[in-house]
Symmetry: C2
Subunit: 399 residues, 2 copies
């Protein structure tokens, strides 16, 4: 029996031979670990994923069906069709304070793929990427896949609000730092950077020759105004900035796997190479649907945000009535990231909530530094009735 | 002005600072270089891509539309839905001599993504991946993205047939070789490994603890029998083997970006992590269409292969009438990879053919060692009339 076979038949650790050490060291997804407990059980209310219970609006689905009818099933442009790239550029130009040219835009297989490609572009083995946490776990894992070290800078809390200590962020960067990763509005916290903080971070990255990778997937899910402060409001076209975004959240298109990245136009051909050799582009007939989402989707986005606001308020009211819970309602994104006093193992507690309350939440431990202890994440982008029922159930266990 | 900005505004080489050296060294796609010459010109007959002129069959498109109607727009299983993974396993079990369990199957964003993920899994910076060439260029580029060296072993020619020198392949492997990449039936050559060659390569990889990555995307495009010899006919479930495949070619689904990989079941969770952090899975409502392709697609595959055979014969007859052309019709895949005497720069010649003949072919130089000199690749998975017209045009220039 060969060495590889012997290893594969052994325990997980013994895979380290033929598989890269960085890959076998990837930690299992804690959210999946919890969701396994209640998997397939219709009595569990699933609030563990970052997804609404609404299907994609019919007018967007229709555009994909029409493209299928028209036989748009051939290879297409690696970085996305010109009409879609132009529509993304037009959308961003209308939303932010500075224009975005389509030459800076590349379509990707979801926001996750945009992040992974930018890590492939910039992170060499032994480099590090500084991340602001608590943070959804995939970005750090993407850095690890490239052999780089994700270096966590936890947000602090001031009067219940999450707050970034800029000096701490800058001090975490050293000569091997190639990238600073910021997700604002943030998953899971709902933390939102101010314009002044964005200016300071952008200036620092310019000065230090470090890439800034901004995940702005929740930019439209805000409870004042039309969009969160964006690095695209203040950046020059050739700044060392990547802005990743996705159709998943604002247009309820999680199952479509479409996103985009804004990058310096000079990198366009290089990004095309990376897309080519990773996935070779996004399915052709989905792209007209993305154009439709951008051009006709504003009423839906507005309604969707209002629905999230109602969800937030229902959850906040009920959490306020639980003496062990510490929570300040977020101004953005669609998560309640709350702390339960007396809980120190959020993974075990989340599993207990599935079993005893029939409610699925994500454990704070999944989100890195700053989310340890008794934190839980609840997605409130759901029907009000469902949330009310879930909160009733939680109240019985979190007493 | 920051250092990054200065570099971005400079020439391509000056991007090397903020971008990884391995990425800025990626070579531009020569096929794209040729296709730019005749881009958007309706008078050019495009035979440069590996794609048929047939849209995806209607019954497959319908399944995706029905899934859209049913609102299947939510996140789904990272490695593919259980019904699709089961359908792939059943399809492969019916096609090959040994059963394939669904635990070994993972859905990927096209065959390209399957290859990239397996390279992420196995290739560390400084490792090498031995590839059999001429070969479509993307596999070598994927290895380069991981910081590894693609090491080319060219096929030889014996009485017009492409032939692999096994000793040469084995001699190319050293202590840093992590992976042997074989594409059989091969793009661009149509070369097909024999069962005996497959046994020898698999035994070598077992013995030397080297992964074997088999790209079997053209396994159904064969002109005798139902499928090409596959490593799945002879391998044990826990062999150091990855077999990548795709819906693109046999079911005319290039624009869908769906493929799969068969790997040892013990790596399932690890592959799920890689999918999660690269693309997070394939669009949900496309997956029932893939099930339909596998379960109801056999008559289409059969017709499609017959159409390719007619295409091959038209092209072969016409090439035989050109005194400067050396060509032996392939037994598999849908390319004529032929040599034109007196041509030593295939890129320049392919561009000339676009301008002077109005026919788009891919230059041999795009496919690595063994494809240098006067080779050109023509895709004959096209309507007979179109091919006849293209050959008439080529005859006027290749005199």
């Amino acid at each position: 029996m060969s060495k590889i076979k012997t290893r594969l038949l052994g325990k997980a650790e013994s895979l380290a031979g033929p598989v890269r050490a960085a890959i076998s060291a990837l930690e299992p997804q804690l959210i999946a670990d919890v969701s396994k407990v209640g998997f397939g059980d219709p009595n569990v209310i699933p609030l563990w994923y970052g997804e609404s219970d609404l299907p994609t609006p019919e007018f967007i689905r229709r555009a994909a069906k029409e493209a299928l009818d028209q036989g748009e099933t051939f290879y297409t442009y690696t970085r996305g069709t010109p009409p879609l790239r132009a529509a993304i550029a037009e959308y961003l130009t209308g939303l932010h304070e500075r224009p975005v040219a389509m030459e800076r835009v590349s379509l990707t297989t979801a926001g996750m793929n945009a992040i992974m490609l930018m890590m492939e572009l910039t992170l060499e083995r032994g480099d590090n990427a500084v991340t602001v946490t608590p943070l959804w776990p995939n970005a750090a894992a993407a850095a690890r896949i490239m052999g780089a070290e994700p270096r966590e800078v936890p947000l602090g809390r001031e009067q219940g609000r999450w707050r970034l200590d800029l000096d701490r962020l800058f001090a975490a960067c050293d000569s091997r730092t190639r990238l600073v990763f910021v997700n604002s509005p943030g998953n899971p916290t709902g933390w939102m950077m101010t314009r002044e903080e964005q200016r300071a971070v952008l200036d620092f990255c310019r000065e230090r020759n470090i890439w800034l990778l901004a995940d702005e997937v929740y930019s439209r899910i805000v409870y004042h105004g039309r969009a969160a402060p964006s690095f695209l409001d203040i950046a020059e076209p050739d700044d060392p900035l990547f802005v990743a975004n996705s159709f998943s959240k604002a247009w309820a298109m999680t199952g479509w796997r479409m996103g985009w990245v804004v990058a310096p136009a000079a990198l366009g051909d290089t990004i095309a190479e990376l897309v080519q050799h990773n996935v070779s582009g996004v399915a052709t007939f989905l792209q007209p649907a993305a154009v439709t989402a951008l051009k006709e989707g504003e009423p839906f986005v507005k309604e969707f945000v209002e629905r999230c606001r109602r969800g937030r308020d229902i959850v906040a009211d009920q959490l306020a009535a639980m003496p062990r819970v510490r929570f300040t309602p977020p101004e953005a994104a669609f998560y309640a990231f709350f702390e339960v006093e007396g809980v120190d193992d959020s993974l075990a507690f989340a599993k207990r909530l599935v079993r005893e309350a029939g409610v699925g939440l994500a454990p704070g431990a999944a989100f890195g530094k700053g989310g340890e202890g008794g934190y839980l994440r609840l997605c409130f982008a759901q029907a009000p009735e469902l949330l009310a029922r879930a909160m009733e159930r939680l109240k019985r266990v979190i007493v």
